[in-house]
Each structure stands twice: as structure tokens, then as C-alpha cells.
């Protein structure tokens, strides 16, 4: 291949519009809209398609929950620069809040979920405030410690039902509401956040990630921006936690568990960070994979981990990033 190289060329519309969408024909509209429609339509149809396999309808719920936590991680890590390993904290706090609201205070389910997301968001933001000045790994580790700390505190003080947890939460009226509620939440969060990161405030957050020093020099309080971002992320996380608690009518220590912190991150790495959709795509791959492997018993974790490693090694950039590139660009050999 002496003196030949592969060239990447943007597909026509991308070149002409360059990010500003000047659309002229139906074909071009489809070019831009089709992937989005596929995602939305796919998600909305899933529960209907899976009517035949009722168990898999339950898996969708879990899938969406993981996807939402993954989105919250992706948002914080790749758009604000806070690598938060404490996804379990959000889930746990959200779950416990809704358990307290619903089980102790008897607030009905459709109020307790948003309310606990809100309260949980505020609570987590307050917790994170002191560590916002930490950098990189150190922030990551403190956030990793938080869920562990809460587990131990609840365990040691024997509050909030101790290790047994709080049971007897209200469940959803029926399976369809259960399915569609979480799917709608997921889609709203997905497109809402994609919108947000391109709005002005989103740009400021991305600027914080790139370089907080010059953001400070521009007269913007970095801590304030970071805490808004943390609030958004923890609100999202708590929402999924509250949903999960109601889904299983139970809130307990294991809501804080490591799986909720690690698996979504794995989903983001597999799907490709920095695109938000990648988080969803990653979950769409990993959660069903884990379900297919359930049959293998304990050995399942081994296979699962090895497949995960394979994904990382073979497509280390992330599947979504790879696909986006393939969608927008084609390659050809050219002479030098």
C-alpha cells in the first residue's frame, strides 16, 4: 500500500451544513431524523413486541434504569468533567427517599417518585458540595466511598429498616404504566440532556470540563456550575432509584450496591462516552447480554466480564462513536 492512504470523507449533507441544519430535501431530513426515530420508535415498540415474553418486559425496566444511571454518569464525566463512581449513591438515596415518602408518610406513588427525585437531588448535591474542588481520581474515589459509607451508616445505626430495608411500597397500577413510564423518562432525559449540553449553560459546563481556570477568569463561579450539573445528574439518578424502589416495592441497602456504580460505567465505555446516546446503546448491549448468560449460573459473571473486556479491547473508542463516524463519513483509498 505504498503511497496510498485511506481518506475519511464526510457525507454530503454534513459537509454542507457543518452542524447548522440547513435541510432541503426529504432525503436529507430522513438522513438526520432516521436514527432518532429508530431509537424512539424502537423503545416505544419494545414492550408490545415483547408481549410474548413477559419476563423480558421486566428486563426492559431494569435496562432503562441502568441506561438512565449511565446517562447521568456520561453527562457528569464527559460534559462537566466530574468522574463520579457513585451511581449507587443516587439510586440508593432516591430509593430510600421514595420509601420514606411512600411507606412512612403514605404519599401516593406518582407524587413520591418525582418528589424523592427532587429531594434526593438536593440531598446528593449537598453531599457533593465539599468535594467539588477535588480533581479527577480523587473526586471519583470519594464518590465511590459515599455509597459504601451510607450502607455502613444505615447498618451500624440500624435506622431505616436496618439491613432488612423498607418493604411494602406501592407498586405501579399495571405493567404497561410500569414499562412506559420508565421508557418515557429515559427518552425525555436522553433528548433533554442532548439539548441541554448544546444550550449556553451546557456550553459553560463543557467549558468547565475543558478548563475550569479560564472559566473562573471569565467571571463564572465554577462551583455553582458544577453543583447545578451535579443536581441534574443526581436528580436523574434518584429518579431511577425511586422508580426501582417502587418497581420492587422495596428499598434496602443493596440499592447502594457497587453494581449500580460500575455497570452503568461499563455501559458508557462500551457504548462510547461523550454522546449520551452511547450510554443507552451500551445498556442495550450489556443488560440483555447479562440476561442471556443468566443460565450459566455463577460462571455467567466470568463470561460477562470477558465479553466486556473484548468489547473494550476491540472497539475501545465505543460502539456509538464508531457507528456515528461510519454514518457520517465514508472512507476511500487515495493516492498521495
Amino acid at each position: 500500500m505504498q503511497n496510498k492512504r485511506r481518506e475519511r470523507i464526510d457525507r454530503g449533507i454534513k459537509v454542507r451544513t457543518d452542524g447548522l441544519y440547513a435541510i432541503s430535501s426529504f432525503k436529507e431530513i430522513m438522513y438526520l431524523v432516521f436514527p432518532r426515530l429508530l431509537l424512539i420508535g424502537g423503545f416505544l415498540l419494545l414492550p408490545i413486541v415483547l408481549e410474548l415474553a413477559p419476563y423480558w418486559k421486566r428486563v426492559i425496566n431494569i435496562l432503562c434504569v441502568y441506561a438512565i444511571i449511565a446517562i447521568s454518569f456520561d453527562f457528569l464525566a464527559n460534559f462537566v468533567g466530574l468522574v463520579c463512581l457513585g451511581g449507587g449513591l443516587f439510586v440508593g438515596v432516591g430509593g430510600y427517599f421514595s420509601a420514606i415518602l411512600n411507606s412512612y408518610l403514605k404519599i401516593p406513588i406518582f407524587f413520591s417518585i418525582p418528589l424523592s427525585a427532587l429531594l434526593g437531588g438536593i440531598f446528593c448535591t449537598l453531599l457533593f458540595l465539599p468535594c467539588l474542588k477535588l480533581r479527577g481520581v480523587y473526586f471519583a474515589i470519594v464518590t465511590l466511598m459515599y455509597p459504601l459509607l451510607f450502607t455502613r451508616i444505615i447498618e451500624a445505626l440500624n435506622i431505616l429498616g436496618g439491613t432488612n430495608g423498607i418493604t411494602g411500597l406501592d407498586s405501579f397500577p399495571n405493567q404497561h404504566i410500569e414499562n412506559y413510564l420508565i421508557i418515557l423518562i429515559l427518552l425525555i432525559i436522553l433528548f433533554g440532556l442532548r439539548r441541554l449540553v448544546n444550550e449556553d449553560i451546557g456550553l459553560v459546563m463543557r467549558a468547565v470540563k475543558d478548563n475550569d481556570q479560564s472559566v473562573k477568569a471569565s467571571g463564572i463561579n465554577v462551583t455553582y456550575i458544577k453543583s447545578i450539573a451535579v443536581f441534574i445528574a443526581s436528580f436523574i439518578g434518584c429518579l431511577s432509584g425511586a422508580y426501582l424502589a417502587h418497581l420492587y416495592m422495596w428499598a434496602g441497602l443493596s440499592l447502594f450496591s457497587l453494581d449500580f456504580s460500575i455497570l452503568p460505567i461499563a455501559a458508557v465505555t462500551v457504548g462510547g462516552g461523550g454522546s449520551i446516546v452511547g450510554a443507552v446503546v451500551g445498556s442495550l448491549i450489556l443488560v440483555p447480554l447479562s440476561e442471556f448468560l443468566r443460565f450459566f449460573g455463577t460462571f455467567r459473571i466470568v463470561i460477562y466480564s470477558l465479553i466486556l473486556v473484548l468489547f473494550l479491547v476491540l472497539k475501545s473508542e465505543g460502539i456509538m462513536i464508531y457507528l456515528t463516524r461510519k454514518y457520517h463519513q465514508f472512507e476511500r483509498w487515495v493516492d498521495v
Partner: protein, 247 residues
């Protein structure tokens, strides 16, 4: 001695280096001049092999695709595909842009790490480095990161010398230096050539202090070599004068 023939480097579709040919004779000082992003650093990376490392990392991340054509020949051996540490073993040592000293190690330790390839002559080299940069002697136990920019630059050059190189690549050695330190660095380059017979290739955007000391120089613009010649011929060139001396 060191030859670069028809080098071309693409960052994705952008041509960073366009058909550059460069020769450095043993024991000479070669200057590479050009404005920002003319391709000086890329050229230095290509000679030292760092470009291969960058290429690997970019490919991993799914970022830009870097393509390199042409040849780098050293001592009549083709080293185009050798990794940076392999080239360093052959004697091509780069002293990178922005110095990149080891900030958490002391000055002495920095120098010792530099001596990785040539432990036998460590004492002799150390003596030489401290001789041309006497300022480092006072700070031997200071942490590298706490040195001033000028001291860091001296340390970076000194560290590269500890490896007993036969070709020393200096990328923007004058960047951000005050006139005082500029002079020290330029003098040291002269000294290195004179006493150690080391080939020095200097890439610098701020050409004024360097052009007088070089044996041969290249001017690079937009990735292509537009002018070459001896120190004198460059100094007398009107274009060079207006572009680099502001006359």
C-alpha cells in the same frame, strides 16, 4: 548522518508535513524555523518516533488517523518504523517542547533518569551538564516542578545529554525564556556541538537568536520546506529578515 527524505504526515485529511527532505551532518547544528503550526513539532516527532506513539493512541481513541510516508534514515539505517525508545537507544534523543521535565523528582533524579541508556558514563555526563549549566548545581535537590522556566529548560537539555545522544533534537528551546536564559541556552548549544561533537537539530519559531549559530537551516511554511541554506545565506535573505527579524 541523519536524513529525512520525502516525509509526509497527514493528520486525518490535513497535510501537516509536505514532502520535506532534511539532512544533518555529523556534528553540525541544523535549524528548523517556521511560524506556529508550520509543522516543526510534527517534524521533530517524526524524527524522534513519537509520532508513532501519538498515532497508536489516536487510533485507540478513534480520533484522527495519522498517516506517515517517507523515510527517516540514521547512519544509513532505515528507522522509519522504529519506536521512540528504540531510536533513543540508537542515539536520537528529543528534548520536547514545553520541556516536560519530571516535576515530582528532584533535579538530580531527573538527570539520573536521563542516564537510563548510558549508566557507564553517568558521572562524566553529569559533570559536563553541571559544567555548562552551573545554575543547576545550586538546585540539585529541588523538585523539578518548582524550578523556573529557564531552569527547567536547562534541566531538560541536561537530562537529554545524560543519555549520551549522537543526535540531539531540541523543540522550541527558547519558548517563554527571558533574554538572559535565551543566551545561556544558545551558548550551551554551541558548546554541545563543540565539545561533544553531537549533531543538534533545533526547531524554533523565534529564530533571531538561533540563526547565527547554526550550520545549516531550513525554513518551513505550511508543512513544506520553502527555503534552506547556511546561516549566512539565511541571514541575508530579505524574506527571512522581514519575517523573523521584523526589519
Amino acid at each position: 548522518m541523519l536524513e529525512v527524505t520525502n516525509l509526509m504526515v497527514f493528520y486525518e485529511n490535513m497535510l501537516a508535513i509536505n514532502n520535506v527532505t532534511l539532512t544533518a551532518k555529523k556534528g553540525s547544528i541544523v535549524g528548523v524555523f517556521g511560524s506556529n503550526s508550520a509543522g516543526k513539532s510534527t517534524l521533530m516527532y517524526s524524527i524522534s518516533g513519537i509520532i508513532l506513539d501519538i498515532k497508536k493512541k489516536e487510533a485507540m481513541k478513534g480520533g484522527e488517523r495519522i498517516t506517515v510516508f517517507g523515510k527517516v534514515i540514521f547512519d544509513s539505517k532505515d528507522i522509519t518504523n522504529l519506536l521512540p525508545h528504540e531510536r533513543a537507544k540508537m542515539g536520537i534523543v528529543l528534548c520536547p517542547e514545553r520541556r516536560r521535565i519530571f516535576p515530582e523528582s528532584s533535579v538530580l533524579e531527573n538527570l539520573k533518569i536521563g542516564a537510563y541508556l548510558d549508566k557507564r558514563n553517568e558521572k562524566k555526563n553529569l559533570e559536563y551538564v553541571l559544567n555548562i549549566f552551573p545554575r543547576l548545581k545550586d538546585h540539585l535537590n529541588r523538585q523539578g516542578g518548582f524550578l523556573s522556566g529557564g531552569e527547567q529548560q536547562m534541566l531538560a537539555i541536561g537530562r537529554a545529554l545524560m543519555a549520551s545522544p549522537s543526535v540531539l533534537l531540541l523543540d522550541e528551546p527558547l519558548l517563554g525564556l527571558s533574554p538572559y536564559y535565551q543566551k545561556i541556552v544558545v551558548d550551551s548549544i554551541k558548546d554541545i556541538k563543540a565539545t561533544k561533537n553531537i549533531t543538534v537539530i533545533v526547531a524554533e519559531q523565534y529564530a533571531r537568536p538561533i540563526i547565527p549559530v547554526i550550520d545549516y537551516g531550513y525554513i518551513i511554511e505550511n508543512g513544506s520546506s520553502v527555503l534552506e541554506g547556511t546561516s549566512e545565506s539565511l541571514l541575508n535573505n530579505p524574506d527571512v529578515k522581514s519575517a523573523y527579524f521584523g526589519v
